[in-house]
Structures are given as C-alpha cells and as structure tokens.
C-alpha cells in the first residue's frame, strides 16, 4: 500500500454510501493507521448524487479537504457514470469498483479507462436484495473494496460490520449485511 491511500465514493442519497465510508475508516484503524471518512454535505435528499471520501495512511493525516486525486473510486450507483465524471482527477493506476450487472469490460470502455487503471465490477444491488431484501448496496461494495485494495482482511471487515451495525439493527439485518459483504468480497470481477 502506498503511504496514503485516498478513496472517493460516488453514490446517491439513501444507498448507505456515507455509512460505508465510515465503516471502512473504522475497519482500517487497526495496525496504528490513521484514517479519515467524510461526506460532502449538500441538500440531503434520497436519490441525489453525493460524494464521500476516505484517507488511510501510516502517518498523521493533516489534509482537511476533499480527495482530488483518488487512487480508488467506488461507484455505488452506475447511473452516475452518465451523469458526472466519476474518473475526474483519478491517478494513472487508479482502481475503479462499480456496482453494476454489466461486464467489467463494458464498464471499462464506458469509463474510457487508460491501460494503467483497473476496473472491477460487482452486482452489489442484486446481492443486497438477495441478502438483506433491500437495494442497499453498501455492504457488498465494502466487501469488494476490501478485496481489491487489500486494506483489511474479510474477517476483519465482517467483525467491524457486526460492531457498527450491531448497535442499531436486528440480528437478521446484521446477518444479511455480513453475508452481503462476504459475497461482495467473493464475487467482484476484474475487466
């Protein structure tokens, strides 16, 4: 892992994107790492495009501004690719993880990703519907992000999801999210 890893999340209000960034920050806290998780605050409406950010580093994080050159771009809602430039500022070797049922190659073409960038896809919404019964793709996206970045192990992530969700939700919802995160980890594909 580079000294500091910067992640940008693109989602729509109501998909749990901000929660995903928070859970990831918490999970990355181990091993003495420094973390940040913060969303861009606008008018908060379900369905409105939003961004959230993570920084994860071995040293103190002093930068307090949005991530402008992400090494990882997590697209929680693929319809955003048509609406905004999700690749804006991404590094030459950036990793994209896109929630879609489409083939990774097709998304790669759509993103016009240059050679050095990697594009992964995961049908996170389908997994969420099957595991949780609702189109909340954040848990499978988290699983996929962990797999492609190697930031934390799957076991560690699941433990953290259990901890974060345990305060608020029933056992059934927690189990569904754990299964969804596990499937996201296993089913993410590269194009």
């Amino acid at each position: 892992m580079a000294d500091t890893l910067e992640i940008r999340w693109h989602g729509r209000g109501g998909q749990g994107t901000v929660t995903a960034a928070k859970v990831l920050a918490d999970a990355c806290l181990s091993g003495g790492r420094h973390v940040q998780a913060f969303p861009e605050y606008g008018p908060e409406r379900a369905g409105a495009p939003l961004r959230a950010y993570n920084r994860i580093s071995s040293h103190e994080l002093r930068m307090h501004c949005p991530v402008l050159k992400p090494q990882v771009v997590s697209v929680v809602d693929a319809t955003l690719i048509d609406a905004i430039d999700v690749a804006e500022g991404s590094t030459e070797s950036a990793i994209f993880v896109v929630n879609t049922s489409k083939e990774p190659g097709e998304i790669r073409t759509k993103l016009k990703a240059p050679q050095g960038q990697k594009v992964f896809t995961i049908d996170a919404t389908k997994i969420a519907v099957e595991c949780i019964g609702r189109a909340l793709p954040n848990a499978p996206m988290l699983g996929a992000i962990c797999k492609v970045t190697g930031l934390v192990t799957l076991e560690h992530l699941l433990e953290d999801v259990r901890k974060s969700f345990g305060k608020k939700f029933s056992q059934k919802i927690i189990d569904g999210n754990l299964e969804a995160a596990r499937r996201g980890y296993e089913e993410v594909r590269e194009g």
Binding site: K22, L29, R33, H34, P39, Y41, H64, C65
Partner: protein
C-alpha cells in the same frame, strides 16, 4: 490507557463533556452543533452523566440559564454555532462581566444572510471582544484536548472567565478521524472538583449578582477585567504543561511549524492549518524557507509572543476565514498587524480571505499564496494587501 477511536469532531467533544460530567447543561440545537448536544443528551438520558440538562427555547435563553446556573455555583456547559452564538450576544457579556467560568464549544459556521450552514469563522470572530477566552482547534483531537483543558483554564481562581472552544463546522465536526481518548478517571482527576466562588446557593453567605455600577466604579470594574485577561496566557501554558504530562501532547499559546528559520509564512486558524502544513513541506522540499503559525489562544491574543515569533520573517500572509466588514482587513490580520507594529524590522504583511461559507480550502490555495510571498520577497512589490481567494470574479 488511551483508547484509539475513529470519531467525528462532535462525537469527540461530546465525549470530553461526558468525561467531565458537568452539573448543568442548557442548550438549543443548531447545525452543525446539533450532533454534539444530541449525543450529550443521550448520555444524560442513559445515566452516563449526572448533568441536569435544561432544554430551552432559544440560545438567548440557553446562555441566560447558564449564567444563572453558574452563579448558583455549578459547573456549566452549553454549545452552539453561527446564529445561535449571535443570539447569545447580549448574555455573552453578562457571563464574562460576572466572571462565570462557563465552557462552550462553538462549532464554527457562517452567518446569515444569505443562509449557509457550512464552516467559516464569522460567528466566533463576532464574539471576539466579548471578554470570553477563545481556544481554536485544528482537528478532532485538538477540539477534545482543548475542551478538557478549557475547564481548568476558565475555573482557575485567578481567571474565572467563560471560554469558547472552536472547531470548524462539518470539516471537523462531521468528519471521522482517528484520535485518542483519555480514560474517564484521567479526565476527572485532571479537571478536579468544581470550586464555586460566591455561589448564590450558599445561603449562609448571601451575595448580589448583576448590580448597577454607574460612573463611580464602572471603569475600575472594567480595568480589573482587563487585568485578568493579562493573566490568562500564563494559566493556559501551565494547564498545557499538566496536560502534556497526562497525554504526551504538547500545546502552547500558538503552534509554530517550521517557522524558526523561515523567511515566509502563513498564519491560519483551525482545520486549514493542517492542509497548509503539507504544502509548507512541499515548499521546503524545493528549498524554499516556508513556515506556518497557527493561533490557539485567540482571546486574549498573545500579541507580544506572536510578534516575537514573527518579527524575523520577510513576508507573511494572514489567511482569514471571516471578513471584518468595514475594518478593511480580516480579523486575524488586524491582530497580527498589531503584534508586529512595535518592531522596526518586520515582515511585509498581506491578507487573504478564504473559505467563507464552507468553500473548500485546497492545497492549491496555499501554493498560490506561498508563491506570491516568494515573488514579493524577490521583487519587493506588493500586488495587493487584501484579496479574496478561491472566489469567482
């Protein structure tokens, strides 16, 4: 044992308040402070603190209730932002003039109109002459540490003044960061028991609060208040020394970053200081002697110490996240200019207004300003003494 957590600035300060366990909290919710007081109310409801919480109908009432509770002899807190602080304005002077050590985190937010909920420093800058002590915080850790130290400073028997702890709205209050919590008993031991002074509830020794003082003694009263202000920096440093023993973290009246041998420097408050430090490093890597000064104790302003720290520089830019309309310059600029005035040899001083209403302060802004200072030192020409940056023309 310190506990490492990833929390928001609001959550961190709410936890500090919980660990202190004050007697009374009178508060009214306002974005972006709401999360802090919502969390603190939960601690009250869950029995985690013994605090009596007073839910009031406005900030004018919350500060009034704080004044009453503190005069009665209690350790008292509230918290606010923006319009809430503005609505307290009248009572802020009552709290400081009555020498009541009320502790108030302020989550800095822009003022209306136009309506805006995001971070800038207009709110607390408007209250800078109210006689309240002001501490400013770069991140969640500093906001937490400053909150704990604030009780010791405000309640010191030589001081007895109310204190604001500032942090940037949303940028810090709503962002999750890694930080360290002290243990509850460490915080309890550090702040100690609250010592009341002339409490109204001491019925054996009745006292009057809020008397009428006309031409006979008003001026002596104000002179006494000014004398107290001069004692604050010493107490702030003593408290910081004790806090360092406890936490390992160092605090002063202000923070200097690569300033000692610097030729040019930025002066900037709160979260934007962190972003600027990374850019100062970039300039140092290029061989440019850049540095930074971040005020912590902003009221009373340590004029002498800051003047000493800056006088050797060639050019300095003060970045203000508020404007002082009609004063020609931003508030921090005016204080820095006053600090440097006594020196014959002093740096050229320019002022940039940035980040109003939460407008992002990016590394490129710090680069722009540092490059301008390099140029200024090179050719001795000042382009303009005051300018808005990161703004559409």
């Amino acid at each position: 044992m310190a506990k490492i957590v990833a929390v928001t600035g609001n959550e961190a300060v709410a936890n500090a308040l919980k660990q202190v366990n004050p007697d009374v909290c009178a508060a009214y919710p306002i974005t972006p402070q709401t999360e802090m007081m919502q969390r603190f109310s939960s601690f009250v409801s869950d029995g985690k603190v013994k605090t009596e919480i007073i839910l009031v109908e406005s900030e004018h009432s919350s500060m009034s209730a704080c004044v009453g509770a503190c005069a009665a002899g209690g350790r008292v807190i509230t918290a606010t932002s923006s319009q809430g602080l503005a609505l307290m304005y009248e009572i802020l002077y009552i709290a400081s003039g009555t020498r009541l050590p009320i502790v108030m985190p302020v989550v800095n937010r822009a003022l209306s109109a136009p309506l805006n909920i995001h971070g800038d420093h207009s709110d607390s800058m408007g209250a800078r002459d109210t006689g309240w002590i002001q501490l400013w915080s770069e991140n969640a850790q500093e906001a937490y540490d400053n909150t704990i130290q604030a009780f010791r400073i405000a309640e010191h028997m030589d001081i007895r003044l109310p204190i604001m702890i500032n942090m940037d709205g949303f940028i810090i209050s709503h962002s999750i960061e890694r930080m360290e919590y002290l243990d509850d008993d460490q915080v309890q031991n550090f702040v100690g028991e609250f010592k009341s002074l002339n409490p109204l509830l001491d019925l054996e020794h009745p006292v009057s609060y809020g008397p009428l003082i006309l031409t006979d003694y008003y001026m002596e009263f104000r002179k006494a208040q000014d004398d107290v202000e001069s004692k604050v920096p010493g107490v702030v440093l003593d408290v910081a020394k004790d806090f360092e023993k406890l936490s390992g973290r160092t605090y002063g009246l202000f923070e200097t970053y690569r300033l000692d041998d610097a030729e040019i420097a930025l002066i900037i408050l709160n979260s934007a200081a962190g972003t600027s430090k990374d850019v100062v490093d970039e300039f140092r890597d290029k061989g440019i002697k850049a540095g930074l000064l971040k005020p912590r104790l902003y009221r009373p302003f340590p004029y002498k110490e800051i003047g000493e720290a800056l006088k050797h520089l060639k050019a300095v830019c003060v970045l203000d996240r508020a404007d002082a309309f009609g004063g020609s310059f931003g508030p921090v600029y005016m204080d820095i200019a006053t600090s440097l005035y006594p020196y014959k040899e002093r740096p050229v001083l320019i002022n940039k207004i940035y980040g109003l209403g939460g407008r992002d302060y990016l590394p490129d802004h710090a680069k722009l300003v540092l490059n301008e200072l390099v140029e200024l030192v090179g050719n001795g020409t000042v382009k303009s003494y005051k300018e808005y940056i990161g703004v559409r023309e």
